[in-house]
Subunit: 359 residues, 2 copies
């Protein structure tokens, strides 16, 4: 709905496109703001329809209000997204409306970003970069305790505290962070583990930040992996190989190439460098996730840069996160992630934050 109308609303809305005519119905509470800022031709008063139904002695359910708007515009058949709620669909069907769904994305053009969308994502990205910079600055102030744990102001410095530092910096830039990952050592081998407890020196810490800009609703995504202290030769080697993998992905992404081909190239690079993927001691290890994904009003959206959907080819203007990583129990995880926009001939990196292992 945000994509269709450009209108950030906490309450339910009706959006209706009739040929080129774009209509919206919003509650009286939203009416003024909607008329000022929604990208539609006309904003109807949901509340007025509801009152009319009420005057006829019936409860103004969502389905009844929609049916009345449709009837007024002589519409009996609508195409809705696959995510349309089944319960509401059944009520509308009982009311004589025919609902069509289409396979595939409802707004295929959403994967290709307009200039203002790229700009909104870059605003969120700068906030995310500021967050990682603040986190690295905090890690740099840590001493390495004799027990191998990081200490700050005399206390063990924890993943939770690092996350608070990162998130605070992101928020100060107008983006809302959620589920920021600060995962040290083996915790990072589960890529959805947020990270907890004291942080260790000389061990990789994965920091993955994916905030949403509050003004626009657009996301950004960035990951850096750092070691406070000295990285082992093995970790350094892994870091170099992951960094090369990201460069290979950036060099490989271009219009006409599939996301699956970009993913395959990263996978091959890892295999060729001797970093295999598979189940070891009951846990998947190696390169255990896709190479990337589109980013926009959702943190994960089209196009997929993975083995799924091998027939879909990249298009100019798509905005993608590329995030190769390697994960081994006993070593930890290393993931590096940049954002890029697909151009006419290749892709252009949007992320500015340098890559740096030892801090």
């Amino acid at each position: 709905m945000l994509y269709a109308t450009g209108f950030l609303a906490p309450d339910p809305l009706l959006f209706l496109q009739l040929g080129h005519q774009r209509l919206m119905a919003a509650s009286d509470l939203e009416l003024g703001r909607a008329r000022r800022s929604a990208r539609v031709h006309r904003v109807l008063s949901w509340s007025a329809y509801a009152r009319e139904i009420g005057r006829q002695g019936r409860r103004a359910t969502v389905a009844r209000v929609i049916q009345r708007v449709l009837a007024e515009h002589h519409v009996t058949r609508i195409t809705v997204p696959g995510s349309f709620p089944l319960g509401l669909a059944r009520e509308l069907t009982r009311g004589g409306v025919r609902l069509l769904t289409e396979a595939g994305p409802f707004w295929p053009q959403r994967a290709v970003k307009r200039v203002d969308e790229v700009r909104a994502i870059v605003v969120a990205l700068r906030a995310a970069e500021a967050g990682i910079e603040a986190g690295i600055a905090a890690l740099r102030t840590c001493r390495v305790g004799q027990d191998g744990f990081l200490r700050r102001a005399g206390q063990r410095f924890t993943a939770e505290e690092l996350r608070a530092v990162v998130n605070t910096a992101v928020l100060a830039r107008g983006a809302v962070p959620a589920h920021t990952i600060c995962a040290c050592g083996d915790q990072a081998v589960d890529p959805h583990e947020g990270g907890h407890g004291p942080l260790r020196a000389h061990v990789p810490i994965v920091i993955d930040v994916f905030p949403r800009a509050e003004a626009t609703g657009y996301f950004a995504d960035i990951t850096r992996t750092v070691v406070r202290g000295h990285a082992s030769d093995h970790v350094r080697r892994i870091y170099a190989v992951v960094s090369q993998a990201l460069d290979a992905a950036l060099a490989s992404a271009r219009p006409g190439r599939s996301g699956a081909a970009v993913h395959a190239r990263v996978h091959e690079h890892f295999e060729r460098c001797g970093f295999t993927t598979g189940e070891v001691r009951g846990r998947m290890q190696g390169f255990i996730h896709g190479t990337g994904h589109g980013v926009g009003l959702e943190i994960h959206e089209a196009p997929a840069i993975s083995s799924r959907q091998p027939s879909q080819r990249l298009r100019r203007g798509q905005l993608i996160a590329l995030e190769p990583g390697l994960y081994y129990l006993g070593v930890g995880g290393v993931r590096i992630e940049d954002l890029a926009v697909v151009t006419r001939v290749g892709c252009r990196r949007l992320t500015r934050l340098p890559r740096l292992l030892e801090i």
Copy 2:
């Protein structure tokens, strides 16, 4: 899904309840964490089903994986929530699965909170209170400029800066704020306006914070209205009447009474005190929204404390936000909001932050 499984996951999951047996299917990436922390009897590997389908030369769509799990458990008929995606429903129907939907909430017991849920909401509430306290402390450091604007460190202090102060304090307590309202003067007459620009002295500022606890996913909700400087007699009168309305709502909410009755009591109080509601100069003014709403895994959930659903009665254990307010152009908005849990005989306030108009 979070309510059903207790499992916070970024990726799609399948949850299936067969009699008392509760199953979940999750991707391999989630499997370890799901088996440790999901409140289900068994976690199946989504990826294993997907691989099996792939081996048979078919694309492992979500519908096919679900069908396979259902077939394995001899299930041909399932009840799904009204919000179930229509596109997926149609694919399952074509695959021979019968989907039933029920009117009303899918988990009616969700409105009644368990002790651990109340505790999680209180954690989020303490974070929200800390945010408002930080905001008030920042406003207190402001000087009143000769132009009537608040000044801090020689600069005009803005709604955006106040919001950053509030949000940072909330986030430091482990809750994620989004769309925090800091609306000064007439801006607050649109209750969904976030607030922007320089803040004025001697004018009400509505601060409404509704963060989500990151560890649990539960929300809290609190609003305070303050004046930096001196409130006019009219604003003081409005504040007293709104504060009485909140007390009346707290005194009125109890098991067996409808949310609509609580709302009617607040409405009557305002009318009796001479504060009417209606359209003035094309804008709704007065008491322009409902009295309150349930709070839990969503910021607005059952029960409604408004004129909607007059037949639904409050039940012991429901957790509600009560937020009466009055809004007039030329004066601004005054809203005060507390959280309370419905007890055996009445309701118990959970909010601790005192009410204070002039700061």
